[in-house]
Symmetry: C2
């Protein structure tokens, strides 16, 4: 039993991710974390100024992992922009299920509201990756007449909602096969097989 832990910072982040995945962000306690790792209750303060600071670090790491995961999924499908965007949508949802701690942290309003510079930067990078992919898909004909901001908002909104549904234990009874459901949901956003659904013909002068 050494006086110095050796790698407390990383251990705290890992353990926090585990606890968040198991019990949610609300039930994360710095003191409990310290107890779990066998250090004193004030030890975490040497690595994270406060609770939010730890969550910011976790969120920054989460954003980077997210970007890598999404891009890898897109690259695995080839170069067709519609297929890539579809794959990214599915990867988005899968990431939220695979790394619930990171996902919850990067989407937690309270965490993101007080984000520090590093976290903000990583969030921007994440946003950029999606925007670029959406623009490419639009250039290839998907919802070509819509604002990119709109289709990105629509896409993210939907996958985010599906993620929330799948993560919500209340809805788990409806879901028999995650993968199949994810495929069907994302197909409703962008369906590379059915280009005719991918365009909204603008109505001349029609009131919405």
């Amino acid at each position: 039993m050494t006086y110095h832990h050796g790698n407390l910072r990383k251990s705290l982040l890992d353990r926090a991710a585990y606890v968040i995945a198991e019990q949610g962000i609300e039930n994360l306690s710095l003191r409990a974390l310290a107890r779990d790792l066998g250090v004193s209750h004030a030890a975490p303060a040497r690595h994270f100024a406060d609770k939010n600071d730890l969550l910011h670090a976790l969120a920054t790491e989460g954003n980077d992992r997210f970007i890598a995961y999404i891009l890898e999924a897109a690259d695995a499908t080839g170069s067709d922009p519609l297929v890539r965007y579809n794959a990214m949508g599915k990867a988005y949802i899968r990431f939220s299920l695979l790394y619930p701690a990171y996902y919850r942290t990067i989407t937690h309003p309270d965490v993101m509201t007080h984000a520090d510079a590093g976290l903000k930067a990583s969030a921007e990078r994440r946003s950029l990756v999606i925007h670029d992919a959406a623009r490419a898909a639009q250039a290839a004909g998907w919802l070509a007449d819509e604002k990119t901001e709109d289709v990105v908002l629509f896409s993210i909104a939907t996958v985010r909602g599906v993620s929330a549904m799948l993560a919500d234990p209340m809805n788990s009874r409806f879901v028999e096969d995650d993968d199949e459901l994810i495929t069907r949901m994302v197909r409703l956003i962008i369906d590379p097989q059915h280009p005719e659904r991918n365009s909204l013909t603008p109505r001349k002068g029609a009131a919405t």
Copy 2:
């Protein structure tokens, strides 16, 4: 200053709704609530067994208000199932902005996970209203070949996501006109003016 408050239960719920709207569920404190209302810190316990119990009451009230709000919006548009469903989608998002406290409470995972019987029942009613409307829209031709579960999940996911985006201060800079954005987003779910987008199955004789 009377010893008995007179209407503490309702006052607590109202004040809680205010605080949640202003500072979020995480920052709700029973003791602060009691202070605000000029009663002792243990007074709330006479009306709510614990913090979750208060949130459950708020959520039940929220579900009922939600149902009323959505149905009123649908009724205001007439009897066309597609138009009604579209209106309900827009109303969903507007409700989340108009009554953030109720909305946050009825969608808060931790609150809903430990829901009591009354809250669960109100959640079922809410779900039923949407399912019925979706079935009607499908019967009228919208995504007729999809499972109702799927289209409901897709719809709710999207409006829920849009609500999250609009409620997130981080995204507020993108939004100039809420109403217009909501209209465009819901149109991407169900567009009564463009039935051709409403089916994933190619029309007979159309090239795939």
